[in-house]
Amino acid sequence: MPSASDTRTADTGAAAAHAGRRDPRGVVPTIVKAVALVLLAAAIVAFPSVAANPFILSVGVVIMSYAVLATGWNFMGGFTGYMSLGHAAYAGLGGYSTALLIVKAELNPWVALALGALITAVIAVPVGIASLRVRGASFVIVSIAFVLILLLVFQSWGGFTGGSNGLRIPRPFGPEVLRPEQHERFFYIHAALLAVALLLWWLIDRSRFGIGLKAIREDEDKAQALGVPTFQYKLVAFVLSAFFTALGGGVYALWFGFLDPVFQFSILIGSYMVLMSLLGGIRSLFGPALGALIVGYAVEFFKSEYGDTQFHLVATGLLLGIVVLFMPDGIIPGVTGLLRRFRPQASSIREVTQAELAEQRAGGAHTGTDSSGGDSTGGATRAPDPQVTEGVHP
């Protein structure tokens, strides 16, 4: 995710002036990032063996599950900017279709998992066609409505789904696998799923398809005018997002072994996904996973400390409000923006949001023709608000 914008240059004059400085920026961070990635992977692999007790391990599984769901959400929310508050619908559908395929059709759990996610993706196609016809707020409304419909259907259709009594799912591993062992295996399954999702996100991020999606995020009308097939792109991203969310929901269902419509089709779970992604940074590869770590840990901490009171709703709401108001770009862009201040300024064309562009234009009025974003005095004068520098794609 780092290099795509590093190699692009603004205008040749500025590029030549900064060429010497940019070189180390290209190589050293790549090594640093590779090392960090290996360390991260090692930490994840080692976690089950250093976890103090099965409870800690189970918290780890929950956080991993959140990370998968948030990363799945980010295929839609991050690339296209269409923030669905109802993605719990796909996690729930994935969980329920996996469970029903095991219970009713007596399929192998892993076949059921894959098939369940595929079924969910197929269901997501008509929902996507309907809801992607509208933008912004209407899209969010439809996403919430879809969760509420599913909650209603799964609660009322007791004969098939188990209704409010819930649905018990047999364990995929035999009785000889004890609970801590079970947690460990599911931790690794979730981690593998997360790795696949991250890899795909990274690939899309670098592809023409990804650039089209990001163009939709910044200005859908202009993207369409430039020939991006916006509707098809959005639909593919939507279905892909539903597919990964469903896989996450399915694996979670296999691990947890019990489904209840109230918890599966809960708006709260959907809002967790949004909160995690926004907190970490929706434009960053690891943003949603980082957000999942923070929010997931906080949620589990609140639950164990204060019990299952309504207080966690207040905490979630306050946190979401603070993130939306003060750091809508998330932690990762914020921190990288902060680090960038201590580095030599680059003058390449980077991804800039519409808002920043407008501010740059306003700020650029008194800096004359110098249009090289970052290091102009226009940039310095609009710097007091740290958010302004965050939108730059890492």
Binding site: R133, G136, S138, I141, I267, Q310, A315, V324, L325
Partner: protein, 292 residues
Amino acid sequence: MSLLLQSLVLGVLLGGLYALLAAGLTLYFGVMRVVMIAHSAFLILAAYLAWFWTTETGIDPMVSLLWTVPLFFVTGVLIQRLLISRLRPATLTMMSVLLTFAVALVIEGTLGFVFTGTQRRVQLPYGGADISIGGVNIAVVKLIAFGLAAASLLALYLLLTRTKFGQALRATIQHPEAARLVGINTERTAGYGFGLGLATAAIGGTALSLDSTIYPSLHWHWIGPLMAIIVVGGLGSIPGAAIAAMVLGVGQSLLQIPLGTTWAQTFFYIALFATLMIRPQGFFGGRLAQRF
């Protein structure tokens, strides 16, 4: 036949309350392009305040309107001033949804924390009374709730069409820049518009407390239908919202006969998806609505 008529009347009575609340949602959308997810949370908050007022003082819940309406109006102005107007214009619509969603969570959590999740109901001396007209039985409380909603809608209509403030508000909704050019303080007007929207939640909540059992998470059952109503009616059109509210309210009430209460609720969502497929901008809104 009388069952059909009964459902029809109940549907109209319910539709009136929906219409008032949907009008509030439309006001927020009109002045700020904001979809206020917390609207129904404030509705339940007002219902709780009315219930609390009656259990503590023994005075009729409708008297609580005297202080909840001003309180909610001021809260609305403050929300617009302190929260919504801080968001970046480029991402305002999307972020405001998340922000008001956060407000809804905080309200729900606080209600659960303070009043616990127990179901509550206002005890009224006339709670069980009903009137029978032409074979149709109507609970008095439902009639009062409808009267309250209808009177408020009428007042809102008169305010918007007959007063100078109403003109300024409508101008702000139609074209903020032009409104500024003719000397309207659109910032302040938008704040008052927000306050008016929240005041409808106060009235609706009091009306709701008269005849239903309330609990903190009830607002999710209201926000879905309300959102469906404003999309079907066309975002930003108050008459559209009112008509859609009536049609959908009556439709839900009639469908309860063959389908039962639970499945009848899906009517709103089916109407929502049908609208998106046939006419995404809604049946009364302009082309503009599609973009938000």
